[in-house]
Symmetry: C3
Subunit: 348 residues, 3 copies
Amino acid sequence: MSLFGKNLICTQDWSIDELLLALNLAVKMKKSRFHSEWKTLLDSKTFIMLFYNHSLRTRISFEAAMLELGGHAQFIMPPMLRLQTNTEAGETVQDAARVMSRYAAGIGIRIAEAAIPYYGAGNNLMADYVKWADVPVINMANDYYHPCQGLADILSWAERYGNGLCSPNFESLKNKNFLLTWAHGGMARTWGSVHEALLLASRFGMNVTIARPDGYDLDPQVYQTIAKNCQMHDTAFTTTNNHLNCYENAHVVYSRNWMSPHAYKDNVFQKEAEIKFAMEKKEWITTAEKMKKTDNAIFTHCMPIDRGFEVTDEVANSDRSVIYDVAENRLHVQKAVLALSMSQRFLD
Amino acid sequence: MSLFGKNLICTQDWSIDELLLALNLAVKMKKSRFHSEWKTLLDSKTFIMLFYNHSLRTRISFEAAMLELGGHAQFIMPPMLRLQTNTEAGETVQDAARVMSRYAAGIGIRIAEAAIPYYGAGNNLMADYVKWADVPVINMANDYYHPCQGLADILSWAERYGNGLCSPNFESLKNKNFLLTWAHGGMARTWGSVHEALLLASRFGMNVTIARPDGYDLDPQVYQTIAKNCQMHDTAFTTTNNHLNCYENAHVVYSRNWMSPHAYKDNVFQKEAEIKFAMEKKEWITTAEKMKKTDNAIFTHCMPIDRGFEVTDEVANSDRSVIYDVAENRLHVQKAVLALSMSQRFLD
Amino acid sequence: MSLFGKNLICTQDWSIDELLLALNLAVKMKKSRFHSEWKTLLDSKTFIMLFYNHSLRTRISFEAAMLELGGHAQFIMPPMLRLQTNTEAGETVQDAARVMSRYAAGIGIRIAEAAIPYYGAGNNLMADYVKWADVPVINMANDYYHPCQGLADILSWAERYGNGLCSPNFESLKNKNFLLTWAHGGMARTWGSVHEALLLASRFGMNVTIARPDGYDLDPQVYQTIAKNCQMHDTAFTTTNNHLNCYENAHVVYSRNWMSPHAYKDNVFQKEAEIKFAMEKKEWITTAEKMKKTDNAIFTHCMPIDRGFEVTDEVANSDRSVIYDVAENRLHVQKAVLALSMSQRFLD
């Protein structure tokens, strides 16, 4: 089994064995982070990072990952590239992707929220790069998916329910209860991270509950895939609009603000309207009291956290919070994904 | 013969032997791109890239080139540097260039189009850096010249008329017919790339034809140099305003939009007026039909291509199109130039 | 004595022995800049550079320093990070600093002038990073201090009054006369660099004179520390508003424009008002004539220099000018500081 040359747009595109290959390599890399072995994997190789949107974790962790693999990640904001837009002449994705393939071993793209005119536009652009590039395209977060975030989530949960850091037990997640709950807040977030957490939780055998106010459902097609994943494991997939009872018996709690399905109008992301609407629902926040209803659940989040809105400081800072481990695991899973897809060492 | 410490502002400043030294090293580097030998040439050395203008190929390929030579290219947009401007107090080029020389092994500059107030201003700024810097200055495209583009062009043509990739035959270009034709389009391009192609084509013994509508002549001083180059080889240098007949017997066709000699007014680049005026001349485009008039010519372009305006998709995507090879060769010739001018290995 | 894990916000926080450890390592690194020994010190390690303000020397020299130590510096403009601001929801410093600590071996921050709403805000932000980060925080210039600049200053002076480049004699500075004089100019500079020069000059046993027009005093608390430093060495600390006599018997002259204590109003940096007011005081400039009053003083400056306002070309370009050596020494002292604080090699 080789992942050399493989794109990573959504974890659902990879088999469980492929995902475990990446996750297990990530654990090895985490155990001996600066071992000289990793440094030769992508020696002198370039990874192009196209950031249509701002980022802290994704940018820093991908750039560090390439360094630790012996290569280099170029940080590029696409307006610097003179690409074709709706209003200006410029280079096509066809030409950009084919030229980049001559220089680089892989291309990463981040695009969502205000950088796109409608839901799906980010994933469409990425599909266009996949079509034309001769090297792997890695999704660094789009409107649909955020695969590296999902891998970091699942690894962190499996560490906590396994034997601790660097000793995950993915089997331990089976039949555990995963609660994803919408939260109010001022960031109007894209769906990529939560979609990916749902897909992987269901894929690894967890019961899945989505709690959200009416009108805040996520993508119906993703719901169908989650349902299918749950069916395979004979686990439950539930949605509820109860912000309180949903915590009962949960083992993993993920509370996060996300935009409504009506966030794009007239080709513009209606960020302020979304925030205004979301901020009214003040009861949608994870608190210590609510956490008491759970089965001693861990608290997880992809960050950045909107403290005081999505979750209280008390919960975010508690011993059961895995937020910083999740952030750190971004680095390790990305190192594994980059190495497996781009290093000829893994070609055999 | 050593190129250590040498600037590269225009290929015409280098002797044919110096150019061939760089081109032949580029071919060796292309043959074994990731050979460990190259990695030590600029080990730990910094190359400063000042991008007054946006770029895809130049930025990515120079940054990759430095990585592959063991060093690092810093991507810098000059507004970040607090340099003196017409309206604001700041650092002089004298001080900036001398300080940079303490930190870096070389300085690259890209400046043209909207970043300058008049034709020649970019080349003047570069001359000022050359005056004060103690390290080589590499022209990464200015209003006059784009030497690395020219080297990539000539290498790609010599590969096609030689024995294929990595087996260029520069002699094979002698007495071949080079057609540079203006094209309509929405980008109002600077003259650097086409000047450089003309200079090198004439330098390597090709007959040169420039086809352009009346009013679109390039720099008269460059024309004189081309004429002189052609005289040395006893080849022809012709200009025409016929967008059709010019293709006859051509071996290399380069169609590109460029700005008129009146593109700067009142110290401002009149981009929109240029585009409006250019877009009227719809017959100026390279098509498959026109290509049939040639002697099975290859199609070349520095990119980005304004598809549908400068050239049809059919021609750009054809087997005779060398556009992606040209783009790739940017990397290899730049690696050679950087190594030869900045590595003490080549000092003897 | 180990500096591993230590922050560097102000040189006053470090003992003289700690400063000398860094300075002496800097000299060793300068002597053999590209020796393979340094390359392994921070192999594969990431240094995060947060630039709230623009920079030439600081950015290029820190990025080159990390390269030469085997690691990589990430250039980040904080608006790219989605951090919490007064008007927008976003990530807290607590979360940002703790996450960065998982990825990087150190964090550098530059913040002053128009990037802050009041004097002290930059240093406060840095203190917040120090509070939460698990890795060293290096001050790359703030409104209070600029420690790496101060170290480069003192090294360059000690080279000139010692046995030349790479042979500094720090003892030679004892009882020498240091003149810091305000100068007019169009840049309205922050106080960090001059504070640091004053603190180190007094710390290394020099007599200190500050010449400035009435109304241009620096931080009273820093004055107190300088006085205390001078008391320990039994040296003099004087202030004067005489722009002429102050040069008498000086051994080191540093002329620089700085903002008045009233530069911030209503949470906005009043740059234009400051420049207008400063530009009236045309007599405040260092000239060759004034330098004749000194004891053959060297001229020093942190750059960028506002030539013709802060100092004449004649003085800046003279043999006694150490400006480019100071700039170069930034690189060497920063390599030493980064290595000592971040490399486990120095942990014993």
